[in-house]
Point group: C2
Chain length 164, copies 2
Amino acid sequence: MKKLPERVWLPRSAISAWGEVARRSGVAVSTLHFYETKGLIHSGRNAGNQRRYTRDVLRRVAVIKIAQRTGMPLAEIASALAALPESRTPTAADWRRLSERWRASLESRIAQLTQLRDQLDGCIGCGCLSLGQCPLRNPDDVLGREGKGARRLAAMVLSDSGFE
Amino acid sequence: MKKLPERVWLPRSAISAWGEVARRSGVAVSTLHFYETKGLIHSGRNAGNQRRYTRDVLRRVAVIKIAQRTGMPLAEIASALAALPESRTPTAADWRRLSERWRASLESRIAQLTQLRDQLDGCIGCGCLSLGQCPLRNPDDVLGREGKGARRLAAMVLSDSGFE
DNA sequence: CGTTGACCTCAAGTAAACTTGAGGAAATAG
DNA sequence: CTATTTCCTCAAGTTTACTTGAGGTCAACG
């Protein structure tokens, strides 16, 4: 592998795709291209038609990855990022809106998983996953507020003995 | 839609695909077929080559859905279910092993998301998502133990100012 | 017995998020 | 200057988890 110029800061507004962004952000070039087609990041071109990203792409990619870790699909991330003004540099307030939005979705996912864990704990404790006569058999006690799908699901688990 | 015989319990060991399983479990027939090809559920056939599931399929489907809610891929669920003895009816201990395994994966996912949320909170609080000079700038303080990927990611977010 | 409605099989399509490959041009080490 | 590298475009492939469709069968109502 040819070594890239160490710490030679190009005009500070232009860095190349692989050489800098991919390496520094840890994503493949193909992914950067892909993100670009999805409108998640943008790039300019040099004389030879090669992409020149500005440094903020690094942060964008980082933010995309963070959002993905919250379980958010790219399409939604794209729309969130699109809400950032393209003309001006994003402000602290802009980012705050983004992160709060993501925090909310994170919270709800955490809550869902936590509830599921608790349900599972209950089932492990009383053996209702395998036996039909669980003391927690009243689904509403166990399920609390959740979608119909979930209630129906757990109700099934708790009450429908497929074997014993 | 033809109405199915209400509460007419077939030989107790055999119910039809759509009429009972799909309706009672809330999944589409096509999904049941799909699960069958993946070895997640099994079925017998009647004289006319139509599937006849036994009642435990209801529980299997319920368990599959629960596992999916933990974020577990079908392949893993399949291998977990495959660990159940095919010959005998699963015991309470069998199910306990399954649910404990899933509980563990659930826990880790919850932990991951929680940590992410806390990081995000920190960033929201200090504005470091948008500004380069965050008091939490020392990545190790913020990140604690996590994979290299994550560290690199967050380190990037915290230290690499793409704009300010 | 005939006509629906429920099933069957197998192939193909879908969506998300990327990766891989082919064919060709630009940038750079030596 | 030339051999590597790196990059470009565009098409097609990959995985997961299913759904849809075509063409044909089975079963039950009337």
